[in-house]
C-alpha cells in the first residue's frame, strides 16, 4: 500500500507542491473577498477558468503557436510566457471587476440581504461558464506547448522539471508580492481597515467602493496567474474545469482559515500534498474522501481553520 509513496515520494511531493501553489493563488481570490465582504465569491472558479483561456489565446492566437509547433526558446520563450501570464491576469482581473460590478455592487448599495448576493454570484458564475461553453462549442481546448518540459536534474530519484520549478518559484513570488501589497501599501491598509470595520473605515475617509473593487481585482489577478500556471503544467482547459479547481481552492481556503492570506498559503500547499499522497496510498478514487475527512477533522478542532480567521478577528 505504501510502496508507491516510498518509491515515488519526492516525485509526488514536487507534483503536490506545484499543484498546491496553483491552489494557493486561486484560494487568494476566495479569501480576499471573504476577508473584506464576509461573502464567498462563488464566481471565482469561473474567473479562474476564464484566466486559463487568457494564456491559450496568447500563445495560440497572438503568437500563432499550434499543437505541432516546436516549443519556444530563449528570449521568445520569456516573451510568450510573460505575456501569457499578464494576459491571464488581465482577463481574470477584469472578469473579477465585472463580477463585482454586476453581482455585488448594486445589491450592496441597495443594502440587500446577503443571500441575494450569494445567488447573484452563483448566477453570474453559471453565465460565465455557459458563455465559454458556447464560445468553445463544449469542446476541450488543448494549449500548444510553449515551454519544453526539460528535466533539469534528478533529486532522490525524482525528476525536477522546468515547468514545475517555474510554477513553484513564480507562484511563490506572486503570492509574496500580493501579501506585501496588502501589508504595506496604502490601498492594502485600506483593504484591511474595511475588513476590520467597514463603518469606521468609511468614517476615516476610505473610499469603500474603490477598496472593494481593488479587492476583487487583486483576487482576480492571483486567480488569473493560477490559470497561467495551470495551462503551463497541464496544457489543457475546458469550460467546466473551474468547478473542480474552484472547489479544491475553496476547501484550501477554509482549511487554512478563510479570510486569512497566510491561511490560503498553507491551506493550498497542504491540500496539494494531501491530494497526491492520498491518491498514491489509497487510490485516486479516495482522494476527495480523504481530503474532506481531513477538512472535517480540522474544523472539529479548529473551527476557524488552521490559521484562524482574518488578520482581524473582531467583527460584530
Amino acid at each position: 500500500m505504501f510502496a508507491v509513496l516510498i518509491d515515488q515520494f519526492w516525485s509526488l511531493t514536487i507534483a503536490g507542491v506545484a499543484l498546491g501553489f496553483i491552489y494557493v493563488l486561486i484560494s487568494l481570490g476566495y479569501t480576499m473577498v471573504y476577508g473584506v465582504l464576509r461573502m464567498i465569491n462563488f464566481a471565482n472558479s469561473e474567473i479562474f477558468m476564464w484566466g486559463t483561456f487568457g494564456t491559450v489565446i496568447t500563445s495560440r492566437d497572438i503568437f500563432n503557436y499550434t499543437q505541432t509547433s516546436e516549443p519556444a526558446t530563449g528570449g521568445k520563450l520569456a516573451l510568450v510566457l510573460v505575456s501569457s501570464l499578464l494576459m491571464s491576469m488581465l482577463v481574470a482581473g477584469l472578469t473579477a471587476i465585472f463580477v463585482e460590478l454586476v453581482a455585488y455592487r448594486r445589491l450592496r448599495m441597495k443594502g440587500t440581504n446577503r443571500l441575494a448576493t450569494l445567488i447573484s454570484a452563483i448566477g453570474i458564475s453559471i453565465a460565465l461558464q455557459e458563455v465559454m461553453r458556447l464560445l468553445t462549442d463544449s469542446r476541450p481546448v488543448g494549449s500548444p506547448r510553449i515551454l519544453e518540459k526539460i528535466i533539469l536534474t534528478e533529486v532522490w530519484g525524482a525528476n525536477i522539471r522546468l515547468d514545475t520549478v517555474i510554477t513553484i518559484i513564480a507562484a511563490a513570488l506572486i503570492f509574496f508580492v500580493l501579501e506585501r501589497f496588502i501589508k504595506l501599501s496604502r490601498m492594502g491598509k485600506a483593504i484591511r481597515a474595511v475588513s476590520m470595520n467597514e463603518d469606521a473605515a468609511k468614517l476615516m475617509g476610505v473610499n469603500l467602493n474603490r477598496v472593494i473593487t481593488t479587492t476583487f481585482l487583486v483576487g482576480g489577478l492571483a486567480t488569473g496567474a493560477a490559470g497561467f500556471f495551470y495551462i503551463t503544467v497541464f496544457e489543457y482547459t475546458k469550460f467546466n474545469i473551474g468547478f473542480t479547481m474552484g472547489m479544491a481552492a475553496f476547501t484550501a481556503a477554509v482549511l487554512g482559515g478563510i479570510g486569512n492570506i497566510r491561511g490560503a498559503f498553507y491551506g493550498g500547499l497542504s491540500l496539494g500534498l494531501l491530494e497526491v499522497y492520498a491518491s498514491a496510498v489509497l487510490g485516486t478514487q479516495w482522494k476527495a474522501v480523504t481530503v474532506f475527512i481531513v477538512l472535517v477533522l480540522v474544523l472539529l478542532f479548529k473551527p476557524n481553520g488552521l490559521f484562524g480567521e482574518a488578520v482581524q478577528t473582531t467583527r460584530a
Binding site: 515515488q8 505541432t68 463544449s138 525528476n159 489543457y236 485516486t284
Partner: protein, 382 residues
Amino acid sequence: MNKKIKGSLAVVTAAAVAFGLSSVPAASAAVKTYTIGYQGPLSGGEASTGIDEQNAVKYAIKLFEAKNKNIKIKLVSIDDQGDPAVAGTVAPGVASNKSVLGVVGPAYSGATIASLPYYKSVNMALISPSATRVSLTDPTSPDFGGPIFHRVVGKDDLQGPALAKYATAGVKDAKVFVFDDQSAYAVPLRGYVEGGLKKVAGATLVGGDSVPNTTTDFSPTIAKIKTSGATVVIYTGYYSQAAVFIKQLRDSGSKAVFAGGDGVFNQEFPKLAGAAAEGSKVTGVGGLAGISAKLEADFKKQMGVSSGVYSVESFDAANILLAGIKAGKTTRSSMLAYVKAYNGKSISGNTIKFNANGDISYGLFAGFTTKNGVLVNTGIVK
C-alpha cells in the same frame, strides 16, 4: 448552439411531430412515405458522434430510395445530446408520434436506459449502432432493453478482450496497468479488459487505478505506473482526459505503450495531445473505409463528407428498418417482429441475426494507432 436551446428545440420538434405536423404530403398517389427516427447526440460536446451516425443513416436512406422509387423515407432527428436527462425529455414525444415505425439508436447507453420506458410502452423497435453497455441486453439487469432493444455493435465484453489483445500486441511479457475514469462506461470495460488479459500469453496485470473524470493532475497515477514497472498502460475513459494523461505520462519520461478503448477513439485525441499521442493504440470501429474504398468514395460523393464513427453500424441498423418497410411492416408491432426475426447480411459481410436478448454474435473492433497526429486504421483486431 446552446445545448439547452438545442435540447428544447429537439423537444419542440419531437412534440410537433407528435401532434401530427408530420402528416405526410403525398407527392403522387403511388409514392408512399414512411417515417423512421435516429436518436443520438446531435448537439453539445458529443455531437460529432451523432452527426457521423446520422449521416450514415441518411446515406442508407438515399440508397434505398434510389432503388425503391415508390417509397419515400422521412427521417426524424432525435437529439438527446448523449445525455440521459435530455433523452428522458425527448423520448416521450417520439413515442407518441405514431408515424415513427422504428428508431436507429439511441447512440449512447445511458441515454438508451433513460429512453427505454417510453419506447417499451409503444413497442418501438430500437436498433442501436453504438450503445455497448453489457447490461442493456442482460435479462437479469434492471437496464434490460428487451423486447424492443437491439444492437448491431459488439458489447463491451467483446471490446475488452480486443483492447487487451491490441494493446499488448508486439510487447513481450507485457506488464499491464489498467485504470478507468469511474464512469458507467469505463468501470465495466476495465473489468472486461482485465478478464481479456488473462488470455493473452505472457501478459500480467501489475496494477490499476480509478481516477475521477474531472482529474487533470495524474501524478499519483503516474507514480503508481512507475512503481509497478508497467510496459503497457490501458485507459478506459474518454479522449479528453486521455490526452491530458498521455502528455503527463510522456513528460514523466515513461515510454510505456498507451492504449484506450472506443471512448478515446476520436480524432480530437491526437489533436489535443500532440506529439505525446504518437504510437498510442486505440480500439474503435472501422468505418466504411475499413470495408471498401469504393464504398467510402461513393459515401463521400453522395453525402459531401467522409464517413465517420459507427458508420458501418448505423448503415446496417438503418437497412434493417428499411428492409422492414419494404416488406410491408408498416406498424410498430409488425416492424418489431420483423426486426426480431431478421436474418440478413451486414455490409461488413457478417450475418446479422439477433439473439433473444437483442445481441448480434460478432463484434467488429478495429485497432487504430496514432501516426503523425492522426489515428490510422490498422484493421480488425482478431
